[in-house]
Symmetry: C2
Subunit: 243 residues, 2 copies
DNA sequence: GGGGAGAGATGCCGC
DNA sequence: GCGGCATTTCTCCCC
Protein backbone atom coordinates (compact mmCIF):
# COMPACT_ATOMS: atom_id res chain seq x y z
CA UNK A 1 0.00 0.00 0.00
CA UNK A 2 1.53 3.30 -1.11
CA UNK A 3 0.51 6.78 -0.08
CA UNK A 4 -0.43 9.15 -2.87
CA UNK A 5 2.71 11.25 -2.99
CA UNK A 6 4.92 8.17 -2.92
CA UNK A 7 2.91 6.77 -5.83
CA UNK A 8 3.21 10.03 -7.75
CA UNK A 9 6.99 10.12 -7.30
CA UNK A 10 7.49 6.50 -8.33
CA UNK A 11 5.11 6.86 -11.28
CA UNK A 12 6.83 9.95 -12.69
CA UNK A 13 10.24 8.38 -12.14
CA UNK A 14 9.18 5.30 -14.11
CA UNK A 15 7.85 7.50 -16.93
CA UNK A 16 11.15 9.34 -17.17
CA UNK A 17 13.10 6.09 -17.24
CA UNK A 18 10.78 4.53 -19.83
CA UNK A 19 9.98 1.63 -17.55
CA UNK A 20 6.89 -0.55 -17.73
CA UNK A 21 4.49 -0.47 -14.79
CA UNK A 22 1.87 -2.60 -13.07
CA UNK A 23 -0.40 -0.85 -10.59
CA UNK A 24 -3.10 -2.37 -8.41
CA UNK A 25 -5.57 0.25 -7.24
CA UNK A 26 -9.08 1.41 -6.43
CA UNK A 27 -10.00 3.89 -9.13
CA UNK A 28 -12.51 5.79 -11.24
CA UNK A 29 -11.85 6.22 -14.97
CA UNK A 30 -13.25 8.70 -17.46
CA UNK A 31 -12.36 8.81 -21.15
CA UNK A 32 -13.08 11.03 -24.10
CA UNK A 33 -11.88 10.38 -27.63
CA UNK A 34 -13.25 7.99 -30.20
CA UNK A 35 -16.17 7.64 -27.81
CA UNK A 36 -16.79 8.79 -24.26
CA UNK A 37 -16.95 6.60 -21.20
CA UNK A 38 -17.12 6.48 -17.43
CA UNK A 39 -16.12 3.57 -15.23
CA UNK A 40 -17.39 3.84 -11.62
CA UNK A 41 -15.18 3.12 -8.62
CA UNK A 42 -13.66 -0.34 -8.35
CA UNK A 43 -10.41 -2.31 -8.02
CA UNK A 44 -8.32 -2.62 -11.18
CA UNK A 45 -4.88 -3.36 -12.51
CA UNK A 46 -3.31 -0.62 -14.60
CA UNK A 47 -0.53 -1.53 -17.02
CA UNK A 48 1.71 1.05 -18.60
CA UNK A 49 4.21 -0.07 -21.22
CA UNK A 50 7.45 1.46 -22.40
CA UNK A 51 5.77 2.56 -25.65
CA UNK A 52 3.33 4.59 -23.49
CA UNK A 53 0.43 2.22 -24.02
CA UNK A 54 -1.93 2.43 -21.04
CA UNK A 55 -4.33 -0.41 -20.15
CA UNK A 56 -6.94 -0.54 -17.38
CA UNK A 57 -8.01 -4.10 -16.61
CA UNK A 58 -10.98 -5.19 -14.53
CA UNK A 59 -10.81 -8.59 -12.87
CA UNK A 60 -12.70 -10.33 -15.66
CA UNK A 61 -12.27 -10.87 -19.36
CA UNK A 62 -9.35 -10.48 -21.72
CA UNK A 63 -9.93 -7.00 -23.07
CA UNK A 64 -8.98 -3.86 -21.18
CA UNK A 65 -11.93 -1.76 -20.05
CA UNK A 66 -10.06 1.46 -20.90
CA UNK A 67 -6.90 2.00 -22.88
CA UNK A 68 -4.85 4.48 -24.85
CA UNK A 69 -1.92 4.22 -27.22
CA UNK A 70 0.99 6.64 -27.38
CA UNK A 71 -0.29 8.41 -24.31
CA UNK A 72 1.38 11.43 -22.79
CA UNK A 73 1.18 10.56 -19.12
CA UNK A 74 1.19 12.55 -15.92
CA UNK A 75 0.46 11.92 -12.24
CA UNK A 76 -0.25 14.22 -9.34
CA UNK A 77 -2.04 14.45 -6.02
CA UNK A 78 -5.34 16.31 -5.98
CA UNK A 79 -7.13 16.51 -2.66
CA UNK A 80 -7.80 12.98 -1.43
CA UNK A 81 -7.01 11.45 -4.81
CA UNK A 82 -3.95 10.45 -6.71
CA UNK A 83 -4.67 11.29 -10.34
CA UNK A 84 -3.20 9.80 -13.51
CA UNK A 85 -3.89 11.56 -16.79
CA UNK A 86 -3.25 10.30 -20.29
CA UNK A 87 -3.52 12.40 -23.42
CA UNK A 88 -3.04 11.85 -27.10
CA UNK A 89 -3.50 15.30 -28.53
CA UNK A 90 -3.30 14.30 -32.20
CA UNK A 91 -6.09 11.75 -31.68
CA UNK A 92 -8.01 14.11 -29.39
CA UNK A 93 -8.03 11.46 -26.70
CA UNK A 94 -8.06 12.19 -22.98
CA UNK A 95 -8.24 9.92 -19.96
CA UNK A 96 -8.36 10.69 -16.28
CA UNK A 97 -7.91 8.07 -13.60
CA UNK A 98 -8.68 8.99 -10.01
CA UNK A 99 -7.19 6.67 -7.38
CA UNK A 100 -8.08 6.47 -3.70
CA UNK A 101 -5.97 3.41 -2.89
CA UNK A 102 -2.75 2.16 -4.47
CA UNK A 103 -2.49 -1.47 -3.42
CA UNK A 104 0.77 -2.13 -5.22
CA UNK A 105 3.10 -0.45 -7.67
CA UNK A 106 5.77 -2.23 -9.69
CA UNK A 107 7.98 -0.75 -12.37
CA UNK A 108 10.88 -2.12 -14.29
CA UNK A 109 12.67 -1.91 -17.61
CA UNK A 110 11.44 -4.89 -19.62
CA UNK A 111 13.76 -5.97 -22.40
CA UNK A 112 12.04 -7.91 -25.16
CA UNK A 113 12.67 -7.66 -28.88
CA UNK A 114 11.11 -11.02 -29.68
CA UNK A 115 8.19 -11.66 -31.99
CA UNK A 116 5.68 -14.45 -31.62
CA UNK A 117 5.58 -17.14 -34.29
CA UNK A 118 2.11 -18.42 -35.10
CA UNK A 119 1.04 -21.40 -37.18
CA UNK A 120 -2.51 -22.15 -38.28
CA UNK A 121 -3.63 -18.83 -39.76
CA UNK A 122 -5.84 -18.32 -42.77
CA UNK A 123 -2.73 -17.88 -44.86
CA UNK A 124 -1.47 -21.26 -43.66
CA UNK A 125 -4.80 -22.73 -44.79
CA UNK A 126 -4.31 -21.28 -48.27
CA UNK A 127 -0.75 -22.65 -48.40
CA UNK A 128 -1.97 -26.08 -47.38
CA UNK A 129 -4.52 -26.05 -50.20
CA UNK A 130 -1.84 -24.90 -52.66
CA UNK A 131 0.14 -27.98 -51.66
CA UNK A 132 -2.90 -30.24 -51.88
CA UNK A 133 -5.47 -28.74 -54.28
CA UNK A 134 -7.68 -31.83 -54.13
CA UNK A 135 -8.93 -30.48 -50.79
CA UNK A 136 -11.08 -28.18 -52.97
CA UNK A 137 -11.88 -30.58 -55.81
CA UNK A 138 -10.14 -33.30 -57.80
CA UNK A 139 -9.58 -31.03 -60.78
CA UNK A 140 -8.74 -27.77 -59.01
CA UNK A 141 -5.56 -26.19 -60.36
CA UNK A 142 -4.41 -23.27 -58.20
CA UNK A 143 -2.78 -20.38 -60.03
CA UNK A 144 -1.94 -17.86 -57.33
CA UNK A 145 -2.27 -17.37 -53.62
CA UNK A 146 -3.08 -14.25 -51.60
CA UNK A 147 -1.96 -12.04 -54.41
CA UNK A 148 -3.11 -8.49 -54.61
CA UNK A 149 -4.44 -9.06 -58.11
CA UNK A 150 -6.38 -6.41 -59.92
CA UNK A 151 -9.40 -8.37 -58.73
CA UNK A 152 -8.67 -7.72 -55.08
CA UNK A 153 -7.20 -9.66 -52.18
CA UNK A 154 -8.14 -13.18 -53.18
CA UNK A 155 -7.02 -16.03 -50.92
CA UNK A 156 -6.76 -18.61 -53.71
CA UNK A 157 -7.30 -18.28 -57.40
CA UNK A 158 -7.30 -21.06 -60.00
CA UNK A 159 -9.35 -23.01 -62.52
CA UNK A 160 -10.92 -26.42 -63.11
CA UNK A 161 -10.21 -28.89 -65.92
CA UNK A 162 -12.53 -26.94 -68.25
CA UNK A 163 -10.64 -23.73 -67.63
CA UNK A 164 -13.46 -22.17 -65.62
CA UNK A 165 -11.99 -19.74 -63.13
CA UNK A 166 -12.35 -20.58 -59.43
CA UNK A 167 -12.11 -18.16 -56.52
CA UNK A 168 -11.49 -19.70 -53.11
CA UNK A 169 -12.08 -17.79 -49.87
CA UNK A 170 -10.64 -19.43 -46.75
CA UNK A 171 -11.97 -18.94 -43.22
CA UNK A 172 -10.43 -20.39 -40.06
CA UNK A 173 -13.82 -20.72 -38.37
CA UNK A 174 -17.44 -21.20 -39.21
CA UNK A 175 -18.10 -19.24 -42.40
CA UNK A 176 -20.78 -16.61 -41.91
CA UNK A 177 -22.86 -14.28 -44.07
CA UNK A 178 -20.06 -11.77 -44.51
CA UNK A 179 -17.75 -14.52 -45.77
CA UNK A 180 -20.31 -15.25 -48.49
CA UNK A 181 -20.68 -11.59 -49.44
CA UNK A 182 -16.90 -11.26 -49.52
CA UNK A 183 -16.68 -14.21 -51.92
CA UNK A 184 -19.52 -12.80 -53.98
CA UNK A 185 -17.72 -9.48 -54.25
CA UNK A 186 -14.58 -11.14 -55.62
CA UNK A 187 -16.48 -13.33 -58.09
CA UNK A 188 -18.47 -10.37 -59.43
CA UNK A 189 -15.33 -8.28 -59.76
CA UNK A 190 -13.67 -10.95 -61.85
CA UNK A 191 -16.75 -11.50 -63.99
CA UNK A 192 -16.91 -7.75 -64.53
CA UNK A 193 -13.28 -7.27 -65.43
CA UNK A 194 -12.89 -10.40 -67.56
CA UNK A 195 -16.34 -10.19 -69.13
CA UNK A 196 -17.07 -13.77 -68.09
CA UNK A 197 -20.52 -15.15 -67.35
CA UNK A 198 -19.33 -18.08 -65.28
CA UNK A 199 -16.83 -17.97 -62.45
CA UNK A 200 -16.94 -20.49 -59.62
CA UNK A 201 -16.85 -19.43 -55.99
CA UNK A 202 -15.73 -21.78 -53.23
CA UNK A 203 -15.80 -21.16 -49.49
CA UNK A 204 -13.25 -23.28 -47.63
CA UNK A 205 -13.78 -23.43 -43.86
CA UNK A 206 -14.25 -25.98 -41.07
CA UNK A 207 -18.00 -25.36 -41.12
CA UNK A 208 -20.67 -22.92 -42.28
CA UNK A 209 -23.75 -21.38 -40.68
CA UNK A 210 -27.20 -22.35 -41.97
CA UNK A 211 -28.02 -18.90 -43.29
CA UNK A 212 -24.63 -18.58 -44.93
CA UNK A 213 -25.22 -21.97 -46.60
CA UNK A 214 -28.57 -20.74 -47.97
CA UNK A 215 -27.03 -17.56 -49.34
CA UNK A 216 -24.15 -19.56 -50.77
CA UNK A 217 -26.54 -21.82 -52.67
CA UNK A 218 -28.64 -18.88 -53.80
CA UNK A 219 -25.56 -17.44 -55.46
CA UNK A 220 -24.42 -20.75 -56.92
CA UNK A 221 -21.28 -21.03 -54.81
CA UNK A 222 -20.10 -24.11 -52.98
CA UNK A 223 -18.74 -24.99 -49.57
CA UNK A 224 -15.82 -27.29 -48.87
CA UNK A 225 -14.99 -28.35 -45.33
CA UNK A 226 -11.30 -27.68 -44.62
CA UNK A 227 -9.60 -27.37 -41.26
CA UNK A 228 -6.71 -24.98 -40.70
CA UNK A 229 -3.40 -26.85 -40.46
CA UNK A 230 -1.61 -27.51 -37.18
CA UNK A 231 1.74 -28.94 -36.26
CA UNK A 232 0.44 -32.13 -34.76
CA UNK A 233 3.76 -33.05 -33.21
CA UNK A 234 3.54 -30.03 -30.96
CA UNK A 235 -0.08 -30.67 -30.10
CA UNK A 236 0.91 -34.17 -29.09
CA UNK A 237 3.65 -32.84 -26.87
CA UNK A 238 1.03 -30.91 -24.91
CA UNK A 239 -1.45 -33.72 -25.14
CA UNK A 240 0.71 -36.28 -23.44
CA UNK A 241 0.83 -34.10 -20.37
CA UNK A 242 -2.90 -34.70 -20.01
CA UNK A 243 -2.74 -38.47 -19.91
CA UNK B 1 13.11 -10.77 -7.25
CA UNK B 2 11.63 -14.07 -6.10
CA UNK B 3 13.22 -17.48 -6.20
CA UNK B 4 11.30 -20.15 -8.07
CA UNK B 5 9.88 -22.08 -5.16
CA UNK B 6 8.75 -18.88 -3.44
CA UNK B 7 7.02 -17.89 -6.68
CA UNK B 8 5.36 -21.28 -6.98
CA UNK B 9 4.01 -21.13 -3.43
CA UNK B 10 2.66 -17.59 -3.81
CA UNK B 11 1.16 -18.37 -7.21
CA UNK B 12 -0.68 -21.48 -6.04
CA UNK B 13 -1.87 -19.67 -2.93
CA UNK B 14 -3.31 -16.85 -5.06
CA UNK B 15 -5.05 -19.41 -7.31
CA UNK B 16 -6.68 -21.07 -4.32
CA UNK B 17 -7.84 -17.73 -2.94
CA UNK B 18 -9.15 -16.55 -6.32
CA UNK B 19 -6.92 -13.50 -6.28
CA UNK B 20 -5.80 -11.53 -9.30
CA UNK B 21 -2.07 -11.46 -10.07
CA UNK B 22 0.55 -9.34 -11.80
CA UNK B 23 3.91 -10.97 -12.52
CA UNK B 24 7.00 -9.41 -14.05
CA UNK B 25 9.32 -12.04 -15.46
CA UNK B 26 11.72 -13.31 -18.09
CA UNK B 27 9.91 -16.10 -19.89
CA UNK B 28 9.31 -18.33 -22.91
CA UNK B 29 5.73 -19.09 -23.98
CA UNK B 30 4.33 -21.90 -26.11
CA UNK B 31 0.67 -22.33 -26.98
CA UNK B 32 -1.48 -24.87 -28.76
CA UNK B 33 -5.19 -24.52 -29.34
CA UNK B 34 -7.00 -22.50 -31.96
CA UNK B 35 -3.57 -22.09 -33.51
CA UNK B 36 -0.06 -22.88 -32.33
CA UNK B 37 2.59 -20.38 -31.28
CA UNK B 38 5.99 -19.90 -29.74
CA UNK B 39 7.31 -16.75 -28.13
CA UNK B 40 11.10 -16.72 -27.58
CA UNK B 41 12.70 -15.58 -24.33
CA UNK B 42 12.03 -12.04 -23.18
CA UNK B 43 10.72 -9.85 -20.34
CA UNK B 44 6.93 -9.73 -19.96
CA UNK B 45 4.11 -8.90 -17.59
CA UNK B 46 1.71 -11.74 -16.89
CA UNK B 47 -1.78 -10.91 -15.61
CA UNK B 48 -4.06 -13.51 -14.10
CA UNK B 49 -7.60 -12.49 -13.22
CA UNK B 50 -10.05 -13.94 -10.75
CA UNK B 51 -12.08 -15.46 -13.60
CA UNK B 52 -8.93 -17.39 -14.57
CA UNK B 53 -8.19 -15.24 -17.60
CA UNK B 54 -4.44 -15.31 -18.31
CA UNK B 55 -2.72 -12.55 -20.29
CA UNK B 56 0.92 -12.30 -21.36
CA UNK B 57 1.89 -8.75 -22.31
CA UNK B 58 5.04 -7.64 -24.09
CA UNK B 59 6.26 -4.11 -23.53
CA UNK B 60 4.58 -2.75 -26.66
CA UNK B 61 1.06 -2.57 -28.02
CA UNK B 62 -2.33 -2.98 -26.45
CA UNK B 63 -3.10 -6.61 -27.24
CA UNK B 64 -1.70 -9.50 -25.22
CA UNK B 65 0.78 -11.65 -27.12
CA UNK B 66 -0.64 -14.82 -25.54
CA UNK B 67 -3.84 -15.35 -23.58
CA UNK B 68 -6.37 -17.89 -22.44
CA UNK B 69 -9.84 -17.69 -20.93
CA UNK B 70 -11.18 -19.96 -18.21
CA UNK B 71 -7.76 -21.48 -17.78
CA UNK B 72 -6.99 -24.25 -15.32
CA UNK B 73 -3.70 -23.03 -13.90
CA UNK B 74 -0.76 -24.70 -12.25
CA UNK B 75 2.79 -23.75 -11.29
CA UNK B 76 5.81 -25.80 -10.37
CA UNK B 77 9.58 -25.80 -10.40
CA UNK B 78 11.27 -27.85 -13.13
CA UNK B 79 15.05 -27.83 -13.17
CA UNK B 80 16.23 -24.24 -13.57
CA UNK B 81 12.77 -22.99 -14.55
CA UNK B 82 9.63 -22.01 -12.81
CA UNK B 83 6.80 -23.25 -15.00
CA UNK B 84 3.23 -21.98 -15.30
CA UNK B 85 0.75 -24.09 -17.24
CA UNK B 86 -2.71 -23.16 -18.41
CA UNK B 87 -5.22 -25.58 -19.86
CA UNK B 88 -8.74 -25.36 -21.15
CA UNK B 89 -9.59 -28.96 -21.87
CA UNK B 90 -12.98 -28.32 -23.45
CA UNK B 91 -11.39 -25.92 -25.94
CA UNK B 92 -8.33 -28.15 -26.37
CA UNK B 93 -6.09 -25.25 -25.42
CA UNK B 94 -2.74 -25.57 -23.69
CA UNK B 95 -0.13 -23.04 -22.68
CA UNK B 96 3.23 -23.45 -21.05
CA UNK B 97 5.23 -20.55 -19.68
CA UNK B 98 8.82 -21.16 -18.63
CA UNK B 99 10.32 -18.50 -16.34
CA UNK B 100 13.97 -18.01 -15.49
CA UNK B 101 13.51 -14.78 -13.54
CA UNK B 102 10.57 -13.51 -11.52
CA UNK B 103 11.18 -9.77 -11.16
CA UNK B 104 8.02 -9.12 -9.16
CA UNK B 105 4.87 -10.88 -8.05
CA UNK B 106 1.73 -9.15 -6.78
CA UNK B 107 -1.55 -10.76 -5.92
CA UNK B 108 -4.69 -9.42 -4.35
CA UNK B 109 -8.42 -9.83 -4.28
CA UNK B 110 -9.82 -7.14 -6.55
CA UNK B 111 -13.42 -6.18 -5.88
CA UNK B 112 -15.17 -4.62 -8.83
CA UNK B 113 -18.73 -5.20 -9.95
CA UNK B 114 -18.92 -2.03 -12.01
CA UNK B 115 -19.66 -1.81 -15.71
CA UNK B 116 -18.32 0.84 -18.02
CA UNK B 117 -20.80 3.26 -19.56
CA UNK B 118 -19.98 4.23 -23.13
CA UNK B 119 -21.51 6.93 -25.31
CA UNK B 120 -20.92 7.31 -29.02
CA UNK B 121 -21.51 3.79 -30.29
CA UNK B 122 -23.20 2.82 -33.52
CA UNK B 123 -26.41 2.31 -31.59
CA UNK B 124 -26.16 5.85 -30.25
CA UNK B 125 -25.79 7.05 -33.85
CA UNK B 126 -29.01 5.26 -34.79
CA UNK B 127 -30.81 6.76 -31.79
CA UNK B 128 -29.60 10.23 -32.71
CA UNK B 129 -30.98 9.80 -36.22
CA UNK B 130 -34.29 8.52 -34.82
CA UNK B 131 -34.49 11.79 -32.86
CA UNK B 132 -33.47 13.87 -35.84
CA UNK B 133 -34.38 12.03 -39.08
CA UNK B 134 -33.46 15.01 -41.25
CA UNK B 135 -29.84 13.94 -40.79
CA UNK B 136 -30.67 11.35 -43.47
CA UNK B 137 -33.02 13.40 -45.63
CA UNK B 138 -35.74 15.98 -45.18
CA UNK B 139 -38.52 13.47 -45.80
CA UNK B 140 -37.08 10.43 -43.98
CA UNK B 141 -39.60 8.86 -41.60
CA UNK B 142 -37.97 6.24 -39.37
CA UNK B 143 -40.13 3.25 -38.46
CA UNK B 144 -37.90 1.06 -36.32
CA UNK B 145 -34.40 0.94 -34.95
CA UNK B 146 -32.06 -2.00 -34.50
CA UNK B 147 -34.95 -4.39 -34.42
CA UNK B 148 -34.44 -8.01 -35.22
CA UNK B 149 -36.99 -7.81 -37.99
CA UNK B 150 -37.59 -10.68 -40.30
CA UNK B 151 -35.30 -8.78 -42.64
CA UNK B 152 -32.33 -9.10 -40.33
CA UNK B 153 -30.44 -6.78 -37.99
CA UNK B 154 -31.13 -3.45 -39.61
CA UNK B 155 -29.80 -0.32 -37.89
CA UNK B 156 -32.58 1.95 -39.11
CA UNK B 157 -35.61 1.23 -41.20
CA UNK B 158 -38.12 3.72 -42.56
CA UNK B 159 -39.62 5.34 -45.66
CA UNK B 160 -39.70 8.59 -47.60
CA UNK B 161 -42.69 10.81 -48.39
CA UNK B 162 -43.61 8.54 -51.34
CA UNK B 163 -43.68 5.48 -49.11
CA UNK B 164 -40.51 4.02 -50.63
CA UNK B 165 -38.76 1.91 -48.01
CA UNK B 166 -35.36 3.08 -46.79
CA UNK B 167 -32.70 0.98 -45.09
CA UNK B 168 -30.01 2.87 -43.18
CA UNK B 169 -26.74 1.27 -42.09
CA UNK B 170 -24.68 3.29 -39.59
CA UNK B 171 -20.91 3.10 -39.16
CA UNK B 172 -18.86 4.91 -36.53
CA UNK B 173 -15.87 5.26 -38.82
CA UNK B 174 -15.04 5.46 -42.48
CA UNK B 175 -17.47 3.15 -44.29
CA UNK B 176 -15.66 0.45 -46.24
CA UNK B 177 -16.53 -2.17 -48.85
CA UNK B 178 -17.98 -4.58 -46.32
CA UNK B 179 -20.33 -1.86 -45.06
CA UNK B 180 -21.67 -1.53 -48.60
CA UNK B 181 -22.10 -5.29 -49.03
CA UNK B 182 -23.85 -5.40 -45.67
CA UNK B 183 -26.28 -2.70 -46.78
CA UNK B 184 -26.77 -4.45 -50.09
CA UNK B 185 -27.62 -7.69 -48.29
CA UNK B 186 -30.34 -5.98 -46.24
CA UNK B 187 -31.83 -4.16 -49.23
CA UNK B 188 -31.97 -7.34 -51.30
CA UNK B 189 -33.49 -9.28 -48.44
CA UNK B 190 -36.30 -6.76 -48.13
CA UNK B 191 -36.88 -6.59 -51.87
CA UNK B 192 -37.06 -10.37 -51.89
CA UNK B 193 -39.44 -10.72 -49.00
CA UNK B 194 -41.72 -7.81 -49.91
CA UNK B 195 -41.57 -8.37 -53.64
CA UNK B 196 -40.54 -4.77 -54.18
CA UNK B 197 -38.44 -3.51 -57.06
CA UNK B 198 -37.31 -0.31 -55.38
CA UNK B 199 -35.88 -0.01 -51.88
CA UNK B 200 -33.48 2.78 -50.97
CA UNK B 201 -30.19 2.06 -49.20
CA UNK B 202 -28.38 4.73 -47.19
CA UNK B 203 -24.97 4.48 -45.56
CA UNK B 204 -24.56 6.90 -42.65
CA UNK B 205 -20.97 7.39 -41.48
CA UNK B 206 -18.43 10.18 -40.89
CA UNK B 207 -16.76 9.35 -44.21
CA UNK B 208 -16.45 6.67 -46.87
CA UNK B 209 -13.54 5.12 -48.74
CA UNK B 210 -13.18 5.79 -52.46
CA UNK B 211 -13.79 2.19 -53.47
CA UNK B 212 -16.77 1.91 -51.17
CA UNK B 213 -18.19 5.08 -52.73
CA UNK B 214 -17.86 3.53 -56.22
CA UNK B 215 -19.56 0.34 -55.16
CA UNK B 216 -22.27 2.34 -53.42
CA UNK B 217 -23.00 4.28 -56.59
CA UNK B 218 -22.90 1.15 -58.70
CA UNK B 219 -25.67 -0.30 -56.57
CA UNK B 220 -27.69 2.90 -56.48
CA UNK B 221 -27.25 3.54 -52.78
CA UNK B 222 -26.36 6.85 -51.20
CA UNK B 223 -23.97 8.13 -48.56
CA UNK B 224 -24.78 10.63 -45.83
CA UNK B 225 -22.06 12.07 -43.63
CA UNK B 226 -23.05 11.67 -39.98
CA UNK B 227 -20.79 11.77 -36.94
CA UNK B 228 -21.44 9.60 -33.90
CA UNK B 229 -22.86 11.68 -31.04
CA UNK B 230 -20.78 12.84 -28.06
CA UNK B 231 -21.56 14.55 -24.83
CA UNK B 232 -19.85 17.80 -25.57
CA UNK B 233 -20.01 19.06 -22.00
CA UNK B 234 -17.77 16.24 -20.95
CA UNK B 235 -15.39 16.75 -23.85
CA UNK B 236 -15.13 20.37 -22.83
CA UNK B 237 -14.30 19.39 -19.29
CA UNK B 238 -11.27 17.54 -20.61
CA UNK B 239 -10.53 20.20 -23.16
CA UNK B 240 -10.13 23.03 -20.69
CA UNK B 241 -7.34 21.10 -19.01
CA UNK B 242 -5.36 21.50 -22.20
CA UNK B 243 -5.48 25.23 -22.35
C1' DG C 1 -1.36 7.61 -44.09
C1' DG C 2 -5.52 5.40 -46.11
C1' DG C 3 -7.56 1.15 -47.66
C1' DG C 4 -8.56 -3.57 -47.18
C1' DA C 5 -8.78 -7.78 -44.56
C1' DG C 6 -7.38 -11.19 -40.88
C1' DA C 7 -7.46 -12.16 -35.80
C1' DG C 8 -5.74 -17.88 -31.48
C1' DA C 9 -9.97 -11.63 -32.59
C1' DT C 10 -13.41 -10.38 -27.99
C1' DG C 11 -17.85 -9.33 -26.26
C1' DC C 12 -22.84 -8.67 -26.53
C1' DC C 13 -27.34 -10.06 -27.26
C1' DG C 14 -30.96 -12.95 -29.08
C1' DC C 15 -32.87 -17.33 -30.29
C1' DG D 1 -24.84 -23.52 -27.49
C1' DC D 2 -24.86 -21.02 -32.39
C1' DG D 3 -25.65 -16.87 -35.13
C1' DG D 4 -25.07 -12.35 -36.41
C1' DC D 5 -22.62 -8.14 -35.58
C1' DA D 6 -20.20 -4.08 -33.23
C1' DT D 7 -15.64 -2.89 -31.29
C1' DT D 8 -12.58 3.59 -28.35
C1' DT D 9 -11.79 -3.22 -32.17
C1' DC D 10 -6.14 -4.17 -33.00
C1' DT D 11 -2.71 -5.48 -36.19
C1' DC D 12 -0.52 -6.26 -40.48
C1' DC D 13 0.47 -5.40 -45.26
C1' DC D 14 0.24 -3.01 -49.45
C1' DC D 15 -0.45 0.98 -52.22
Amino acid sequence: MLDHSEFKIKFLDAIIKGHSMAVGCHCFVSYSGRAESELPWGDRIIIIKSDRTLLVHQNKGSTPVNYMKEAVLDAYVEGDYAVVTAENISQKEFMRIELTQVYFFESRQLIDEQKIRIVGTERDMAEMIMQNPSLISLDFKPLSMEEHTKFGFIDLFGHDKNGTLIVVECKRYSADLSAVTQLRRYVEKIKDMKGLSSVKGVLAAPKISTNAQSMLEKWGFSFVSVNPPKYLEKFDRFQKKLI
